[in-house]
């Protein structure tokens, strides 16, 4: 009930519907990676997926934000079934990539924001290495670029009040990690794949 309300509200406020330009919705395991400009990104991207895929798709979220208060933790854990990770683990034994891999298992897809933090411009910043390690460990999983449009205008960094502009979620064609590809090259290519969806 609450879940449907949230999905409906998110679609209403952001007007965001998914445009599948590079692939079709499918329950196979995928990692959706997107630019990150707003707290709404997780909710909007997740809501834009068809209802059959939502229970299978787990957003990866920062524990320091989504785990900070009880309502946020409730949203993250109960509604999105999010994977909460430490952005800056102090314990060397904690490995975020391993946590994400474990959370995926052989059933779930992930939503990740490889910049690691929200950016105040629509153009994504440099991608952190997580996406590369995930791609290396799970070459069977499709890596799907997603461009989130206008979300930074709807609820920009540092603002509490949303403005109901029209947002967009554009989902592109899956990319793969080439066998001989260096980490930096792959991350640059992944970022370019997200950016390329800007004007499609």
């Amino acid at each position: 009930m609450l879940r449907w309300t949230l999905v409906g509200l998110s679609r209403l406020v952001s007007g965001a519907r998914a445009r599948w330009v590079g692939c079709e919705p499918h329950p196979r395991q995928r990692i959706y990676f997107a630019n990150h400009t707003s707290h709404l990104d997780t909710l909007v991207l997740w809501s834009a997926l068809p209802s059959s895929l939502r229970p299978l798709t787990r957003p990866v979220a920062a524990r320091d934000y989504w785990g900070a208060t009880a309502p946020r933790r409730f949203l993250a854990e109960r509604i999105f079934n999010a994977v909460l990770i430490d952005r800056a683990p102090t314990d060397p034994l904690v490995n975020p990539v391993a946590e994400m891999l474990q959370a995926m298992g052989h059933r779930h897809s992930l939503i990740i924001f490889p910049e690691g933090t929200r950016n105040s411009t629509p153009e994504p910043g440099t991608f952190k290495g997580g996406l590369y390690y995930l791609a290396r460990e799970r070459s069977d999983v499709e890596l799907v670029p997603v461009f989130m449009e206008n979300l930074n205008r709807i609820l920009p960094k540092g603002s509490f009040l949303p403005v109901p502009l029209l947002g967009g979620v554009t989902i592109g064609a899956p990319i793969r990690l080439d066998a001989s590809e260096e980490k930096a090259d792959f991350l640059a290519r992944a970022r370019a794949a997200v950016l390329a969806l800007h004007s499609t």
Partner: protein, 332 residues
Amino acid sequence: MKTLVIPLVLLGTIVPAVAPADGPARWLLEGVLGLLVVASVTGWVMSRRVTTEAGRKTVQNMNVRIRAWWFMAALFGLALFIGRIGTTVLSGLISFLALREFITLTPTRPGDHQSLFWVFFVITPLQYYLVAVEWYGLAIIMIPVYAFMFIPIRSALQGDVKQFLERTAKVQWGLMVCVYCVSHAPMLLSLDIPGYGGQNAKLLFWFVLVTQLSDVLQWIWGKSLGKHKIAPQVSPNKTWEGFIGGIASATVIGAALWWATPFTPAQAGAMALVVTLIGFGGGLVMSAIKRDRGVKDYGTVIEGHGGVMDRIDSLCFAAPVFFHLTRYWFTT
């Protein structure tokens, strides 16, 4: 298939609403519904017959328009029955959707965020509140005077000076066109016209019908006879043939529907002429804005969204003029 299904569903919702009406209101609605049924069937037949790529585009465009008119007919037909407050709320909703498209298309900066919040959630509802409570004196100056001062103050407090004048002007412009102008349509319902008491909804319906018919007739005349372009840089579809044919035929129809208005046939014709001319200007201005932003339709800014602005651009400009002319000449 959408070409036929949506009209059928809407028809199902309109007919029960029309049934209890009688006299001119009913004739108007029945006429419009008949016209739309014919249009939808024609569009459907054409979509099956069309063979060339260009032809397919034209027919597709036509069918999108027909669908939009079904929604408008349902909306403004409803206005005949839901009364002044209901119509005001519906118009407010249209303003909201139009403004959303307008601002989405207009680049703003993070420094405008707070102002935009006020624009959407305070100023727009306030304008329609003033219309609803018939506070005429404030309703006609709130946005042009007070919002005009408030928005730049709020943006200045935010501290971002880059392109300040341009940004402020854009937000103010969006408010004027999408909210202030549109709000004159429900204000028609508050006019006290001698001998026409309680019938103002028909006047609103007549006004919307004439502006919309003018749009479609200009399009049809232009498609069939159009050769000489009026402003090719702004809107390659607008031709002198379409303009003259469309305005003339819409004026004739407006005059022929005088019985729904407080006007004589000649007055109705003159009103229709003014309204369609201003409406044409509105369409031209909106096209210029769209060209400048590099899009063809507001509806394509974000795929899958209606393009409310594409359908009401002429109505925006015509509404205040029609309101003032009626108020000046026909009220006590």
